[in-house]
């Protein structure tokens, strides 16, 4: 008995002590300033000794909840000094390293200790980050940006009608629940609708020598049946890779195993990350409710059984998938694009495109779309300084600094005032990208300025070229453009449909049982792949039926009904 009491004491005393410690530590919000009143330093801009772009003499710290592959916290000292000279701002950026950027974001918000601004991934309102930042906004963690935007040159455009795409306007920023307030700025919005910086031709690619040997024009492969016949011919042709090994007729995506919608397009009900589509009869259905799920399973099983598709097509790791593409082991690469370095000489040609499930292929271009977003925590002093800094970075002068570097050091100006990248910088970027990155601007892959300034994009109008260095070294993208020409990009773009709307899964957060349904959608995706590998169609059907039942049980019909209502509303209509 005594031993039990001792044991109880030993366990409970430290627990009580730690509870006491926690209780005393409290939460710091009350001590932090939430004062949004303008600071006197703003008026320094009127000082004739300061440049017109002057904001305030202060330090601004930003925390980035995005990957180090996409962004860097290292700013070049000379560029930092130039920014200070122009705006008075001493900018410091820190990247929160986490296994998944969303984990970092949640931990950062929960810590309640945020710097002057934060940035995070947010492609659209359906991205997993959205419910997290929305919760933070509802819990008054961020500053209302609408009044701060009013007096800016660039960001005031966000308040104009027609400037923002639907999802950015009503799904991300000016959500009806906020009554005109906005708590995060969606970035990467183009100045003109339908604007494209690159001529992307993505999807499956076939080895040129194989296409020539089989006397096939890859552009005529527009159905999965034709793709099957082509794969059989590749197998029968006994082609070899660089190491003398047999070629796999259809290999995985260049970036590793995944579902590749573009490869099985006429069997895909909606894009492979949504699987929801509006049929010709106007009904919005999930793939599980159509015949296409089983048709696709039968097709993939046929490819797998006849060894026409790589057995690990859906699960292979990235390194092996890329290795196969570089060694030319894949007769057809499941998914790649024309701007890839390895294919500058065009030894792989674009295949198709494969027609859609209910109509011939038509390019679909987003009216405008967003990418990342930023917000100012409610604890930031003088938040208008951050907005002004963002506005400066989004202006032509700001963009010139973070996209082209320093005049004289990194570029010269042509007669029209457009920047011409220096040849030695382009050469350094080619020969030693890491060293070039240290020069500190986006042209050499250092994207610090994009965090606050990467919006209102129209490079042609601003700098007279579509991409950094095009005017000086057009040969850099020559291979990519040649492939785009071969694929007929211009013609396809001319006939493209420009769409503005929400992806169906953007509304999963609005659905009462969204979490459960999301899990059921994930289960369906996994079940589909499992069905591909089932012994026969009967077993595959069983797997799919079970996944479909789970979808029904977690409220799929009600969710589709919600989508129908959203689609009928011009402010929230869907894109498929």
């Amino acid at each position: 008995m005594l031993r039990n009491k001792t044991w109880f004491k030993v366990l409970s005393i430290p627990l009580m002590a730690s509870m006491l410690l926690m209780g005393c530590s409290g939460n710091d919000t009350s001590t932090q300033s939430n004062d949004n009143t303008p600071n006197d330093t703003v008026n320094v801009a009127k000082d004739p000794a300061k440049p017109a772009t002057w904001i305030a003499d202060r330090k601004v710290k930003g925390l980035v909840f995005m990957g180090t592959d996409d962004y860097t916290e290292d700013m070049n000292a000379e560029i930092k000094a130039k920014l200070k000279e122009l705006t008075g701002i001493d900018l410091e950026i820190e990247i929160m390293v986490a296994d998944h950027s969303i984990d970092g974001l949640i931990a950062g918000l929960a810590s309640n200790d945020l710097p002057d601004f934060v940035t995070f991934y947010l492609n659209n309102s359906g991205r997993p980050e959205m419910p997290v930042v929305l919760k933070a906004a509802r819990e008054e963690m961020f500053t209302d940006l609408t009044p701060l935007m009013k007096d800016t040159k660039i960001y005031s455009k966000y308040l104009e009608d027609e400037y923002l795409p639907l999802d950015t306007k009503y799904g991300v920023m000016f959500r009806p629940e906020f009554n005109g307030s906005s708590y995060f700025v969606h970035m990467n919005v183009a100045r003109q609708g339908g604007y494209a910086t690159r001529k992307y031709a993505g999807g499956p690619y076939i080895r040129k020598d194989i296409a020539e040997a089989l006397n096939i024009d890859p552009r005529t492969i527009n159905t999965t049946e034709k793709l099957y016949d082509l794969a059989k011919k590749i197998k029968a042709g006994n082609f070899k890779d660089k190491n003398g090994k047999d070629v796999v007729p259809i290999g995985p995506s260049y970036w590793g195993g995944k579902e590749v919608g573009a490869l099985f397009n006429d069997l895909e009900w909606g894009s492979s990350d949504q699987r929801i589509y509006k049929g010709k009869d106007g009904n919005i259905l999930h793939e599980s409710q159509t015949e296409f799920a089983l048709k696709k399973v039968e097709y993939v099983q046929k490819l797998l059984n006849e060894k026409l598709l790589h057995p690990e097509f859906f699960t292979i790791d990235e390194s092996r998938a890329t290795e196969g593409a570089l060694n030319e082991t894949w007769g057809i690469i499941g998914d790649t694009h024309n701007y890839q370095e390895y294919n500058r000489d065009m030894h792989y040609l674009p295949l198709g495109p494969i027609d859609a499930v209910d109509h011939p292929y038509q390019m679909q271009v987003n009216y405008k779309s967003g990418y990342s977003a930023w917000a100012i925590p409610a604890t930031t002093k003088d938040p208008q300084d951050i907005m002004k800094l963002a506005d400066f970075l989004a202006s032509r002068e700001g963009k010139l600094l973070w996209q082209y570097g320093l005049e004289g050091r990194d570029y010269t100006l042509d007669g029209k005032g457009n920047p011409l990248a220096k040849k030695e910088i382009l050469d350094l970027k080619q020969s030693n990208p890491d060293e070039a990155k240290k020069l500190g601007f986006a042209g050499v892959s250092n994207y610090w300025g994009e965090l606050l300034g990467g919006t209102d994009i129209d490079r042609m109008a601003d700098f007279g070229e579509m991409e950094y260095g095009d005017a000086v070294a057009p040969e850099v993208n020559a291979g990519a453009l040649k492939i785009a020409d071969y694929w007929g990009w211009d013609e396809k773009r001319k006939n493209a449909s420009i769409v503005d709307g929400y992806t169906p899964l953007s509304f999963i957060g609005d659905f009462e049982h969204g979490t459960e349904l999301k899990a059921a959608f994930e289960n369906y995706d996994d079940s589909l792949i499992r069905a591909y590998y089932a012994k026969n169609t009967v077993e595959a059907k069983k797997i799919l039926d079970s996944a479909s039942k789970q979808l029904e049980a977690t409220g799929l019909p009600s969710f589709l009904e919600l989508l129908k209502q959203k689609d009928a509303d011009p402010k929230t209509h869907l894109k498929f």
Partner: protein, 315 residues
């Protein structure tokens, strides 16, 4: 009168304790970092468990957020996946716990029987190495070895005239073998250290006496070695019962493929996927708390049973 006696007994006990502490001050000083470690990294975080009963608000912190009672527990048990998750977790952890228990003991006994010291040291070092590899590396190796067509196993099968195209990682009926095999390969050497240490502590006179009585090596092992390390085996078994609802996140997360997902989805992967990646701290904490409480109950119960049956216990 009685009260005064009790008080004076308590005072004398307390002063005796302080005298004792003062006498062994250096030992207590050495204990201090360990105590601090547990207070900072185990007890203070434990207060976060109240999140299981609260709806976490970013701006109100853990203590300020509103109470929601047993909402998250209710939600978990209403989830269509909960039965599958508990079943999978129990199957996997029981396999690791019960079937996996004898493997390091057998290895330790085998090492003990090796007389060539040089060979034994090399063999031991090799068996410890996998412990230092991360699960990412181990699962990567497994994937390569078991890959269809060009994996080592399939190539060997093809070489002997079989069908070398089996996609083991995608086939659900190979999942338990792969999971258990990779777990044993990674942990067997390291886990055998403690049993080896226990074996080293056995009095050599007992073996000598047994030899004089004509006992064979097998009998020595069966009647001396194993009974001598029985308390160690029991203690380790009781301690590992606490993790019965934690089947090992890293391994299962990495081994999971669409083909085996209905077997590989466990509570740990669910907590990360739904709870943390979805920002639902309260829900994740509730599931984590449930795992911990069940583990604690099992440890206490097993400890009592062990104490009654064999007189070996943790406390």
């Amino acid at each position: 009168m009685q009260t005064r006696v009790n008080t004076s007994v308590a005072t004398s006990k307390s002063s005796k304790l302080w005298r004792n502490i003062l006498l062994h001050k250096y030992l207590y000083l050495m204990l201090l970092p360990c105590l601090l470690f547990f207070i900072i990294f185990s007890y203070i975080p434990m207060t976060g468990l109240i999140l299981a009963f609260k709806e976490f608000k970013f701006n109100q912190g853990i203590l300020g957020s509103p109470w929601v009672g047993f909402k998250y527990f209710e939600r978990f048990f209403n989830d269509y996946q909960s039965t599958m998750l508990i079943k999978n977790t129990l199957i996997i952890s029981c396999m690791k716990l019960f079937i996996g228990l004898p493997f390091p003991i057998i290895l330790a006994l085998m090492f003990n029987e090796v007389k060539n010291r040089y060979f034994r040291n090399i063999a031991q070092s090799i068996s410890y190495l996998p412990h230092f590899l991360s699960w990412v590396v181990v699962v990567g190796l497994t994937q390569r070895l078991l890959a269809p067509d060009n994996g080592l196993l399939n190539q060997m099968i093809s070489f002997f005239g079989g069908d070398g195209s089996t996609f083991y990682m995608m086939e659900p009926h190979f999942f338990y073998q792969i999971m258990f095999g990779s777990h044993i390969w990674k942990s067997i050497g390291w886990d055998s250290i403690i049993y080896l240490a226990a074996i080293a502590g056995i009095n050599p006179d007992m073996y000598e006496a047994a030899k004089m009585d004509g006992a064979s090596r097998w009998k020595e092992m069966w009647h001396i070695t194993l009974p001598s390390i029985k308390p160690t085996i029991l203690i380790l078994f009781i301690l590992s019962l606490g993790n019965i609802l934690s089947a090992g996140f890293d391994q299962l997360y990495l081994l999971r493929t669409p083909g085996n997902m209905h077997l590989a989805e466990i509570l740990d992967t669910y907590v990360i996927r739904v709870g943390l990646q979805g920002g639902q701290y309260g829900y994740a904490t509730a599931v984590g708390l449930m795992q911990g409480v069940i583990g604690l109950i099992l440890v206490v119960a097993a400890n009592r049973i062990s104490k009654k049956v064999s007189d070996t216990s943790l406390w």
